[in-house]
Point group: D3
Chain length 287, copies 6
């Protein structure tokens, strides 16, 4: 961080919150930050040098189930922007971490952050950047047909198409009224944690192998944050099979990318995210 | 349109509305649809075979000035989706036309439309498709640094990067609190209509020529809908200079693309816009 | 269409004709236009607002079998250009529709049409544009190894490579002296129409599924016009299997694209198709 | 060449011939081959180890002026294919060289050549391959707006877009009824040969410099064969200015590429140019 | 860094060393590490949480002047690899930082580092990754024609071509026998530090503006490490002109990227950098 | 070759030599040039018009086993450059042929050759250029996971990514201390030459078929030069199965490409390989 910054002061913002009584929860909706930040033990050591706050996210405007469609992502994005604005304006933070696998409101939040010279990072974007540092092409392991398309939109918007080997679908959709299957992400995590066989993990192993052997992936990133728990389990499985492929996860990447930006003293290009109060303008842009 | 459809029934939705008392208006906020649809005389003949309704758009949630930043586009998108939902559900329309140059909520609206098998078109997207039918590369003539970046995001998201020769900025920003310049889009249109010299038109001529001579544009499309009035004036000027380059405009392209889709009996790919109630899913996607 | 145009006046031109006595016919070589336009019932409703003429095409110069090799496509292209010239010069038409799956003479015909300000559309090109409106990537379902390469050349020449997921070969070659197999496209169509099992349809189902599941297609277009009859049958089969993928066909796309261009008052970019009597020229082009 | 081939036996085919009485000639239409092969002295040393015949080309079907529009190129292509067929079938040649800058009929001729296992080369294509061996990107120096678009189509069809820095237009159109300017390519060549100032050469110097300094060209190739005479003059000029950029020309590249293919014992891929009498076919192609 | 790592332990390796008596020095060849690490004051705050050693680099095998040609970069690469090997094998470091602007031996060093699970970063590569986090496209500001081509090779090899807007040459070559100009990088830095006008800085301002206005750069990175001193001066100048474009520099980016990788517990993909002692292999790779 | 050159005078340089007593040899380390040039009978006819010398290559600095890792390739590159320098400076040669499948030192050697106006060719690069002349996409058949990544780096560095359909691994690694498998390339060649079944050949057939049927290859090139012996055997096998796909090999391509360049009188672009003693420089490069 620039010489005058002595410590990271990060604002972690959940993608959205659901009513605690919702029957579609995949993470706890209340409690201390160490409990409500999913997979905290995987992340804890990276937060040791950070003063951090965790915001539960705006109440999801679309319903009481997790965001998965493009429409839901748009609504969640809009509802989280005022929180980003307020956090930036508070002067309390030198970095904003957008939690959630599908990065709702990321481009807009960077625009807001830019006005305050505060870097904003998000989980899918940060994973793609980290993956690009490790190999030439990455695959995304993701949970459902609908969510896959969100990840696809992000790959395109972030201009990572040439580095994306594939999006692999393990078909464990988020709970929602329209989903009548019985597959439960929460249940799978618990099974894995108990050392039992988890179909979600087994399917992930199978799809990761296809990503490696058929699609040309040299790194794997995870799509939906509800699947981030897979990281240590799946990494271990792949290693035990002799495949030396790094498996990333969003929280850690987003936190560490924010640190890198803070320390380099940069946030976002003022040309890519031009300010409302513009001093200079260009006649021409190329895409 | 499919044999059973006898007539186009289109829902035209403005990008947003502003309070009538706003001092930042660029179009009338009330009156008959023929008055509030900008540049109606340019479009009228294309609506003759259409039963059409014009919705004024949701009241802009961000303030009383036009949408221009990424943040504002996101908020406008979210606020217009419920209107799209309702229009689709009403059963009254066989096509949805999203007005506005920056296509807020287009991808999300297509997802909604898909559930009802109703095509949704939008002005930037439709212009890009039409331009691609006429030549190999197009340039976008657009009004301001901030709005340019919205257009850029759209080119990338729609995967038209390889066909976009440039985005040319004429620097006539929309009225807004932060803009202290004196350039007025409305005033320029009036000058042009009175046959007086319009700086906005003159600048557009200059930038269009650069697009042709320097950037390799073979067609030109317009960015912000507040600049659509330029089309007949600028087309004429370019022709008088001997440049045979088509100049498109968003309303006409969006209306005609919607007709094409309706008549072909298609709306959007169910694989690109998968339904919430999914019958089949794929293991793999490529980007 | 521009205000002054009151009705579509289209000239439909077959790719070539064969001697009626040829033993390699795949469509009738004489009779009323409704009989000689293949699959007329699928298209009829789109021609209701069109005054149309159907030209049988020039007699194929290469032999009495259908065009399939690159050499044959070139000869067919050259022999159809004088007909396009004459149609354009007649002043009777406001649109030219080039029938045939492999678009012989399309680029050249657009050049001719441009001189008369008449849009020219063709079946492969129009399908690609329509497919691009529906999803990100399309596959081409086509009949033979040799014809596939023609489709490939078109994808490249039209600069749709990045949107083409694959060309899938069902291996039902056109009848020709060198083809000694027994597969008959005409016979297959008749079987399907009688409700019997058609190997051509079954193979198409199989290849379409591979296009969806393996290649990433989000829309499917048909290559050779002799396979256009598949459209309703195959679309139905895919739908019945739960795959919501649009299946396009060339005649309808070419007709509707022509309408769109006529109504928008455009034909082709004068920069992409410069006139012989040039008024302005550019120092530089980019590819 | 393969061990059994002892000498190159090449068939050189002009793109087309014009009536000797035409007032639009740019090369002599009769006489010994050494006289009718343009710029023979530049090429002679490369033909020393070749038994070669020069065919004057089919009489141009479109009129008595040189080929320049897309339509004219198509007609010229079709009229030259029977000559290629006959040359291949004669058994007299082990290489076919298509003369002319715009490669009419090249893809089709390769298909024909493939059946006889005879490589076919053409001037634009061969220059692009040679240029790619020398640097990363090349520019094309070409004579007219219309001809430029032919070159552009070739760059795209040959999939060299990523290596083409620009097409630079010196605006010395071929003589033709519609061209009323007074610039004469033949006159310019004579001036240059007499040591006088040639506007065509001076303009070429200017555009070559722009290709180097602005467009990023690392090699330059020539478009129309009527401009091939520029090669030694322009190369010398660029060298005298300190620019070490190779300037290629079509005849030499096409002849030497043909030798390379003959000696390697290859002609064209049977998968890219599948035979009419096919032994194996593929289910899938990618573009 | 992974929980068990308590502190960064970095090995910083100069690209090469020259004989202290060389008359072509651009940095001191002896003294304490804080003196021999160029521009230490710009970097010092980033090394506060690092235990670091600075290796002077192998003695340049090619001569007593700085590395600038491709040949010299290859020789420097080879001569530095044994040092990387030894550092990795020593067990003393958890990160290797390759100093120098042209990244000699970076791909090879990552291969070596991978065997020891130690991340290796380099200045050009790290700047490109950081720039990609800030905007869509970056330009490289670099010192000489010859060095530019090295930067170009790196952009291609790292697969950043689509994000590289341009390489801008300020033409201040490194001192070497063949360079007879009088421009001195060291002298320019001193002038700038004394507050005098530096031609090198002025030229950098001019080229940076062209990168922004003409080439579409949204971030700027520096090529040769001998120009890294420009960073604070040039950043300030651009800001004072109203251009909000981030200007990066190699040392800081390479250090911070190494920290990010160490903390994420990754080094390089074992598939992109396969081990000599391989446990699994793939039948297929895609590029 | 240019008129004044009367005969090819080529310097063939092995990639490296090993101690004759090494137990990891794949080619003889001494004897007449006809014996030490691998597969001489396949190449002999192409050397009939060449005065050629064969240099055994520098002694490998890394150990007594063949080059396979990136590190080893870098060391081999550096150790061969002085030999290239000397050969160029000798004035005895008009072409340099770099033997070896992975092209160590190719870019650097071209830079050296450029100073002397002598073309330098290399086996992988020459095969890629030749393959591009035959079809649209090629696959590389290669021997091992580690060597595959070298081939991949070359495809990227040479900017042939868009033409590379795949790299197919037959998993017959070079002998080296870390390789404990029993597969022997030399043994396989002998089996094939004796007409016995060779697993290496059988695996190559299988992978070549996958390249054709799954990956879209239209030509095949060979990676490691130790596998070049496969060429006649594999070509024959593919032909016997009905697949008309050209199979190239490096020595022949490199020799014939060098002849082509010599006869065209070119070596490398002075802009792509700028001289140390530069006369002109450019402000800008594009990648």
């Amino acid at each position: 961080m620039p010489p005058e910054e002595k410590r990271f002061r990060f604002f972690l913002l959940q993608a959205f919150s659901l009513p605690p009584a919702s029957k579609y929860l995949v993470r706890p909706m209340g409690g201390p930050k160490e409990k409500t930040l999913m997979n905290f033990p995987d992340v804890a050591h990276l937060l040791e040098d950070v003063d951090w706050e965790l915001h539960p996210g705006a109440l999801a405007p679309h319903g009481d189930w997790p965001v998965e469609t493009r429409e839901e992502f748009c609504l969640a994005a809009a509802s989280r922007l005022p929180i980003v604005r307020e956090a930036c304006a508070s002067g309390k933070y030198n970095g904003i971490i957008l939690l959630g696998g599908g990065d709702p409101g990321f481009m807009e939040s960077r625009e807001i952050g830019r006005r305050h010279r505060i870097p904003v990072t998000a989980c899918a974007n940060a994973q793609m950047h980290a993956a690009a540092m490790l190999g030439n092409r990455f695959s995304i392991l993701d949970i459902s047909e609908v969510h896959n398309m969100r990840m696809r939109d992000l790959v395109v918007q972030y201009e990572f198409s040439a580095r994306c080997a594939s999006i692999r679908n393990i078909h464990f959709p988020m709970p929602r009224p329209s989903y009548t299957g019985e597959r439960s992400i929460v249940g799978e995590r618990e099974k894995a944690q108990r050392g039992e066989t988890s179909d979600m993990l087994e399917t992930s192993v199978r799809e990761a192998l296809s990503a490696v052997e058929d699609d040309g992936a040299e790194a794997i990133i995870l799509g939906c944050s509800a699947a981030y728990w897979l990281q240590p389990f799946l990494q271990k499985r792949l290693e035990s099979m002799g495949w030396e492929i790094p498996l990333l996860e969003g929280y850690r990447c987003a936190i560490e990318q924010a640190k890198m930006l803070v320390r380099l003293g940069v946030d976002a290009s003022g040309l890519a995210f031009p300010d409302d109060h513009l001093r200079r303008w260009r006649r021409k842009k190329t895409v």
